[in-house]
C-alpha cells in the first residue's frame, strides 16, 4: 500500500530498457543468420545452379568424435563431386557443404533442423547422426519435405513414424541384435550369455532385439541393466556399481557377456569383469567400436573382445583406398566409425541429383524431387549397395564383426 507503488515503476522501467535491448539483439542475431542462407544461384567457380548438402550431427560435446568421422566424409564427397573427377564426372550443378552441430541432443536438434530448413539452398541432409536428435528434429524436416539420410541413427522406431523424407543407410537395431545373437550361437557356439545394457535408448533397444533371438537359438539368457556412469558423458550411474554388477555376472556362470552400450562404459565394465575373475567372451556393439575402448580398458583386458557393427571397415577394402587416403588429408585423422556410411549417403544423394538433372535439367532439383528420387534409387557404394525400403530403411541387413587383437588394434573378422 505504502511502498507498493515504487516497485512496479522501477520494474517497468528496467523491463522496458532491457527488453528493447534484447529485442534489438535478437533481431541482430536473426539478420546475421538470415544472410548466411543462400538460394540456388549461379556460382562463378562452378557450373549451373548451386545446391547445398548439409550434415547434422554432434560436432561438440562428448560424442563429437563420432560426428566428426561423418562430417569430413560428407565434406569430402561434396568436394570430390565439385572437382569433377569423381565417379559422377562433371556435374551440371555446383554443390555446397554446410555442417550443423546438434551435439547429439534432442533439445537442440529442432532448432538446428529449422535453420537447415530455412536455408533454401539445402536440398538434402546427411544426418542427424543420433536417434534421439533424429526423433526430435524429424517433424521439422518432414514438414518441409527435406530428405534426411542418416548414416548412423539405428533406432527402429524412426522408420515407423511415417516420415516420408526419412532414409538410413545402416541396418537398424532390430537387425543388429538378432545378427549378433546368431553369430554368438552359430559361429561361437555359445550356450549361455549375460546381456548387459547401459540404460541408454540405443542399448535398451538393442538388448531387447538381441534377447528373443538368442533364446530362440537355445542360449540361456540372463540380463541386467547397468547404467552408463557419470564418468562417461552418457550416464547417470556411478562407477562403483561396476564391481558389484561384475560379481553378479561372474556368479551367474555365463559363458559370454553381450554389452549393449557405448565404449566408455564398456571399458570400465570390462575391467571390472576381468577383475572379478570373469574369463568368458566379451561382445559388444557399434557403440563400442572405438579405439578409446582399448585405451580405456587396457590392451590386456580388451584383447579378444568381439564388436559388431552394421558398418564395414574400409581400411582393408582396396576399392576404398582413395577415399581412405583423401579423408585423412582432409580431416587430419584416419576414417572412423560411420565415415564410410556418411560418404555413401552423400554420394547416394548426389547420384539422385545427377539423375534428376539428367532427366529434367539442373534447375529442377528440388527438395521434393530429391525425396522422390531417393525412394527409387539404387546406388552401389563402398560399404554396400544402397536401396531403400518404403519406410526409409535400408534393404538388406549387413552386419560385420570386429575383433580386438592382442596388439590392441581392431580389425574386421567378417560379416556376422
Amino acid at each position: 500500500m505504502l511502498t507498493k507503488r515504487t516497485i512496479p515503476i522501477r520494474a517497468t522501467a528496467v523491463l522496458g530498457v532491457v527488453s528493447i535491448a534484447v529485442l534489438g539483439l535478437s533481431a541482430c542475431g536473426s539478420s546475421k543468420k538470415a544472410s548466411s542462407g543462400s538460394s540456388p544461384t549461379t556460382s562463378s567457380s562452378g557450373t549451373g545452379p548451386t545446391y547445398t548438402i548439409a550434415y547434422e550431427g554432434p560436432l561438440s560435446g562428448g560424442d563429437a568424435q563420432l560426428g566428426l568421422n561423418m562430417k569430413y566424409a560428407v565434406e569430402l564427397a561434396v568436394n570430390q563431386a565439385n572437382s569433377g573427377t569423381s565417379q559422377f564426372g562433371k556435374l551440371p550443378f555446383t554443390l555446397k557443404f554446410t555442417a550443423a552441430d546438434d551435439q547429439g541432443s534432442g533439445t537442440i536438434s529442432p532448432s538446428v533442423a529449422t535453420s537447415l530448413v530455412d536455408n533454401s539452398g539445402v536440398v538434402a541432409v546427411v544426418g542427424p547422426a543420433f536417434s534421439g536428435a533424429t526423433k526430435a528434429a524429424e517433424p521439422t524436416f518432414s514438414a518441409a519435405n527435406l530428405a534426411t539420410v542418416t548414416p548412423s541413427a539405428t533406432n527402429p522406431a524412426l522408420a515407423t513414424e511415417g516420415w516420408g523424407n526419412f532414409f538410413r543407410v545402416v541396418a537398424d537395431d532390430n537387425a543388429q541384435g538378432p545378427a549378433d545373437a546368431d553369430y554368438m550361437a552359430d559361429t561361437l557356439h555359445l550356450t549361455s550369455v549375460y546381456v548387459v545394457n547401459d540404460a541408454s535408448a540405443y542399448a535398451v533397444g538393442l538388448a531387447g532385439a538381441f534377447t528373443p533371438e538368442a533364446r530362440a537359438k537355445g542360449m540361456k539368457v540372463t540380463s541386467q541393466q547397468v547404467p552408463g556412469t557419470t564418468q562417461c558423458s552418457e550416464g547417470t550411474g556411478s562407477v562403483t556399481e561396476y564391481p558389484a554388477a561384475a560379481s553378479v555376472v561372474k556368479t551367474s556362470g555365463a559363458q559370454a557377456v553381450f554389452y549393449a552400450g557405448y565404449y566408455c562404459g564398456f571399458a570400465d565394465f570390462a575391467k571390472a569383469l576381468r577383475s572379478a575373475g570373469f574369463t568368458g567372451q566379451l561382445f559388444s556393439d557399434d557403440g563400442s567400436l572405438d579405439p578409446h575402448y582399448v585405451s580405456g580398458a587396457g590392451t590386456s583386458v580388451a584383447a579378444g573382445t568381439l564388436i559388431s557393427c552394421p558398418c564395414q571397415d574400409l581400411t582393408t577394402n582396396p576399392a576404398a583406398a582413395s577415399f581412405v587416403s583423401q579423408f585423412k588429408t582432409l580431416a587430419g585423422f584416419a576414417i572412423g566409425t560411420y565415415s564410410g556410411e556418411a560418404y555413401d549417403a552423400t554420394n547416394t544423394i548426389i547420384s539422385v541429383m545427377k539423375s534428376i538433372a539428367a532427366a529434367s535439367g539442373a534447375s529442377s532439383i528440388t527438395r521434393a524431387a530429391v525425396v522422390a528420387g531417393l525412394k527409387t534409387v539404387t546406388y552401389t557404394g563402398l560399404t554396400k549397395t544402397i536401396k531403400f525400403e518404403s519406410n526409409g530403411d535400408i534393404a538388406g541387413t549387413a552386419e560385420y564383426v570386429y575383433k580386438v587383437e592382442p596388439s590392441g588394434t581392431i580389425t574386421e573378422v567378417g560379416p556376422a
Binding site: G62, A199, Q224, Q225, V226, P227, T229, T230, Q231, C232, S233, T236, G237, S238, V239, T240, E241, Y242, P243, A244, A245, S247, V248, K250, T251, C264, A267, D268, K271, A272, S275, A276, G277, H292, S295, G296, G298
Partner: protein, 308 residues
C-alpha cells in the same frame, strides 16, 4: 534367496566403496563444522586429486610393470600428488568462492550458489584442459587376490583402500583431538564468535580446514580412480554419495563420516544381486531422503567438538 548368492563379494566391494566415501565425507564434515555450509564443490576437489595423481604417475611410470617396494612407493607418491592437488584446489576454492562472501557476511543461499558455480566451473574447465575422455591411471601395482572371505576374493586394491583410509582417518581424528590446529577447528565449530574473541584467527582456521578436507578428498580421488580411470565428470556421484554418508553418520562428526561411509557403501551394494543395477543409486538417494526425514542428525549426532 538372491540376497545370499553374492553376499560376501558385494559386501567387500561395498566396504571398499565405503572407505572412499568416508574419506570424501570427511571433507564435507570438516567444512560443515566450521562454516555450517555444504561445500558443493568438494566433488571437484576430489576430481582434481585424481588428475594430480594421474599426471604424476604418468610421468613416473614408464611402460614397465612395477612390483614390490616400487609399487608401495608409487601408490604413496600417487596419493601424495592427489592430496596436494586436492588441497591446492580446496585452498583456492575457499579464497575465491567463499572468502569474499564471508567478508561481506553474505546470506547462506549465496554460499551455496557460489559453491555450485565453482563446481561447474572447475569440472568443465578440467574437461576443457585435460580432455573429455576418461584416462586410465598406469598400473602402480599388480592387482591380485590377497586372501578370501567366505570364498569371496579380497584384492590388493581393496586392501590398499582400507589401509590408506584407516591410517588417514586415525591421523585426522588425532590431529583434530590433540593439535593446536585441531583445537582451533573445534573452537570455530562450536562458536565462531567466541573463538575469534579468544584470539583464534578464523580466516586461517577455515583455510586450514579446507586444506585438510582437500588433502583427504584428493587422496580419495586418486584411490577411486585406480580401477576406473580419471574423468572430468567423475566427481558428481561420489560427491553426492559421500555427502549422504556424512549426513548418515551425523554431519560435523568425524567418526560419523567413517561409519556413514561404510554403511552407505554396503547398503547400496548388497541389493544389486536382487535388483537391476539401475536402481542402486535410487537406493542410495532413498537412504539420504529417509535419513533426513527421520533422523536428520544422523547415526552419531552432529557435533565436531564432541566426537573428536
Amino acid at each position: 534367496m538372491c540376497f545370499t548368492t553374492n553376499f560376501w563379494n558385494l559386501f567387500i566391494g561395498g566396504l571398499a566403496n565405503g572407505f572412499i566415501y568416508a574419506l570424501i565425507a570427511l571433507g564435507y564434515t570438516l567444512v560443515y563444522g566450521v562454516l555450517r555450509l555444504i561445500n558443493f564443490a568438494h566433488s571437484e576437489v576430489f576430481m582434481s586429486g585424481a588428475f594430480g595423481g594421474l599426471f604424476v604417475l604418468q610421468n613416473v611410470i614408464g611402460s614397465k610393470q612395477p612390483s614390490g617396494l616400487a609399487s608401495v612407493g608409487l601408490v604413496v607418491l600417487g596419493l601424495a600428488a592427489g592430496a596436494v592437488s586436492g588441497a591446492a584446489v580446496a585452498f583456492l576454492l575457499e579464497r575465491v568462492a567463499y572468502r569474499p562472501l564471508r567478508r561481506r557476511n553474505a546470506p547462506r543461499l549465496a554460499f551455496l550458489i557460489s559453491a555450485i558455480g565453482a563446481s561447474y566451473f572447475l569440472y568443465n574447465l578440467a574437461g576443457k584442459e585435460f580432455g573429455r575422455q576418461p584416462i586410465s591411471i598406469p598400473n602402480a601395482f599388480t592387482n591380485g587376490t590377497v586372501f578370501t572371505v567366505f570364498g569371496a576374493p579380497v584384492q590388493t586394491y581393496y586392501v590398499i583402500v582400507a589401509v590408506v583410509t584407516l591410517v588417514l582417518l586415525v591421523l585426522i581424528d588425532r590431529v583434530v583431538a590433540l593439535t593446536r590446529l585441531g583445537r582451533g577447528i573445534r573452537a570455530v565449530a562450536q562458536d565462531a564468535d567466541t573463538a575469534s574473541l579468544m584470539g583464534v584467527n578464523i580466516d586461517r582456521v577455515i583455510s586450514q580446514t579446507f586444506v585438510i578436507g582437500g588433502l583427504l578428498g584428493g587422496a580419495a580421488g586418486f584411490l577411486y580412480a585406480i580401477p576406473t580411470g580419471v574423468a572430468y565428470t567423475m566427481g558428481f556421484t561420489p560427491g553426492i554419495k559421500a555427502f549422504t554418508a556424512a549426513v548418515l553418520g551425523g554431519i560435523g562428526n568425524i567418526r560419523g563420516a567413517m561409519i556413514g561411509g561404510l554403511v552407505l557403501g554396503v547398503a547400496e551394494n548388497l541389493p544389486v544381486s536382487c535388483i537391476q543395477t539401475s536402481w542402486r543409486d535410487v537406493v542410495a538417494f532413498g537412504i539420504l531422503v529417509l535419513v533426513l526425514m527421520f533422523r536428520p542428525t544422523g547415526i552419531l549426532g552432529e557435533k565436531l567438538g564432541r566426537a573428536a
